[in-house]
Symmetry: C2
C-alpha cells in the first residue's frame, strides 16, 4: 500500500469527481450445493480497471464474481456469485455512476432448477436444462442517459470484428473492448492482454500485447477523450 | 519456508520411506473454450494432507485440479484440469504409492461434446448432455494390493452415514473421511472441517471442529495405526 499511495500521488487525477462502476470476474450458477457452471474469467482485467480508476481519482465501485484476487485498495467492493445477484447490484449502483465498465464474464445461462441436495451419481447420462440469464449489459444500454458512458467487453474465439461491432451497436455501448482469447498472451488468466477497442463511429484501435494494468489505463484514456468530445459537442 | 523447515524437524518422521499419493481440488469439464462445469472444492483439505505427509517424512505426490492455493513445499506437484487427466496421472502414480488419499472432488459427469468455438447466446433454452466420468476411486479400489492403503472422502448434504458406509464398502476403501457440508465450519472453502472417519469394521471416529491441518494429521495417525495393525496381522 506504500506503493499504491506513491502511485496515487504520481497518477493524473483526471477522473476526480467521477464515479466509475466496474464489474469483474465470472459468475457461478449452481446445479446443487456442490456443482456449478462457470467460466474462465480470472477477474484480472476488471480488477486492473478498478485499481487504475481509483489511482486516477475516481470513486470506484467494483462488483465482482468469485475470483482468487484481493480487492484493490480504495475501492467499494461488492462480491456476488450469480448473474442474478450481479444484475441486482449493478442496477442498484448504475444510477449514480458516470462511467460503467462491464468487464465481468456473466454466465449467459443458468440451470432451470437448483437441487437443494447434492445430486447423487447414477452412472447414467444426465441432462441439464438451462435458461438464459438477464442480459445486464443490454439492460444498462437501455437505461443509459446521455451523461453516462457504457463500456463493454467481448471475449471471442472467432469472427471477433463482426461480433464486436454487432455487440457495440445492439447493446448501445460507447466503447467495446474485444480480445481473441485464442491468441497467446490474450484473455483469461494471463497478466497480459491484446485488445481491440471499437468506438461509436466504426473506429477501431488495435493495442499490442501489454500488461492488463497498462490496458486498463489505455481504456480510461479513451473514456476521458470520449467525455471531452461529448462535452465539446454540447 | 523457515517455519516449514522447523516444523519438519519437530514432526515425527513416522511416514519416512513411504510414498503418499494425494489428490486435491475440483476438476473442470469444459463446455467450450470459455465455459465449464466444476464444483466448490477449494483443495484445502488435500493440500493440508500433502503438507502434513511431507512433514512426517513421506515422499508425496500431489495431483491437483485448479485451485487458488500454492503447492506445499517438498511435494511433487502434478496439476491437472479434467477428470480424464486426473485419472491418467493418478493411475500412472498409483503403482508406486503405499498410501493413496483421494481428497479431490472429481466431476462425476462431463459434457458429451466440447465446442471448439465459444457457443453464442441464442436467447433460447439450452440443453447440456452429460456422460459419467471414469470413477477413479472405484478403479483404484479394484487395483489395490494388500500392501496399499486407499483413503476416500465423501462430502454430503444428507444421509451422510448411509452414503459413507456404502462408499467405503463398494469402492473397497480402507478409510473413508466424510463431512456434512451443510454444517458451518465444515467442508468447501473453510479452513476448518468437521469430519467422521469410517473404518473397515464399521467403526467410526467423530472429530470435533478443527483446522484442516489438524484433521490431516489425525487422518495420517489413522493411516499409521492401520499399517501397524495390518503388519501385526501378517
Amino acid at each position: 500500500t506504500i506503493l499504491h499511495n506513491i502511485s496515487k500521488l504520481l497518477a493524473p487525477h483526471d477522473l476526480a469527481g467521477l464515479t466509475v462502476l466496474v464489474t469483474a470476474g465470472p459468475t457461478r450458477e449452481s446445479l446443487d450445493p456442490v456443482r456449478y457452471i462457470s467460466n474462465r474469467s480470472s477477474g484480472k482485467m476488471g480488477y486492473a480497471l478498478a485499481r487504475a480508476a481509483a489511482l486516477r481519482g475516481a470513486r470506484v465501485i467494483l462488483v465482482s464474481g468469485p475470483t482468487a484476487l484481493e480487492p484493490p485498495p480504495d475501492v467499494e467492493f461488492i462480491p456476488v456469485e450469480t448473474a442474478d445477484q450481479m444484475f441486482n447490484e449493478v442496477t442498484r449502483a448504475f444510477g449514480g455512476a458516470d462511467v460503467i465498465i462491464k468487464a465481468a464474464a456473466v454466465a449467459d445461462y443458468r440451470p432451470v432448477t437448483v437441487s437443494h441436495q447434492k445430486i447423487k451419481k447414477s452412472g447414467q447420462e444426465m441432462i441439464i436444462e438451462l435458461v438464459p440469464n438477464p442480459d445486464i449489459l443490454a439492460e444498462l444500454g437501455r437505461r443509459k442517459t446521455s451523461q453516462q458512458l457504457l463500456i463493454g467487453f467481448a471475449a471471442e474465439t472467432n469472427n471477433l470484428e463482426q461480433y464486436a461491432r454487432e455487440k457495440l451497436s445492439r447493446k448501445n455501448l460507447d466503447l467495446l473492448v474485444a480480445n481473441d482469447i485464442t491468441m497467446p498472451g490474450a484473455g483469461f488468466d494471463y497478466d497480459t492482454n491484446i485488445v481491440r477497442i471499437f468506438g461509436p463511429h466504426d473506429e477501431v484501435e488495435d493495442l499490442p500485447l501489454m500488461d492488463k494494468n497498462t490496458v486498463a489505463h489505455k481504456i480510461l484514456d479513451r473514456v476521458i477523450e470520449l467525455r471531452k468530445s461529448r462535452q465539446g459537442a454540447v
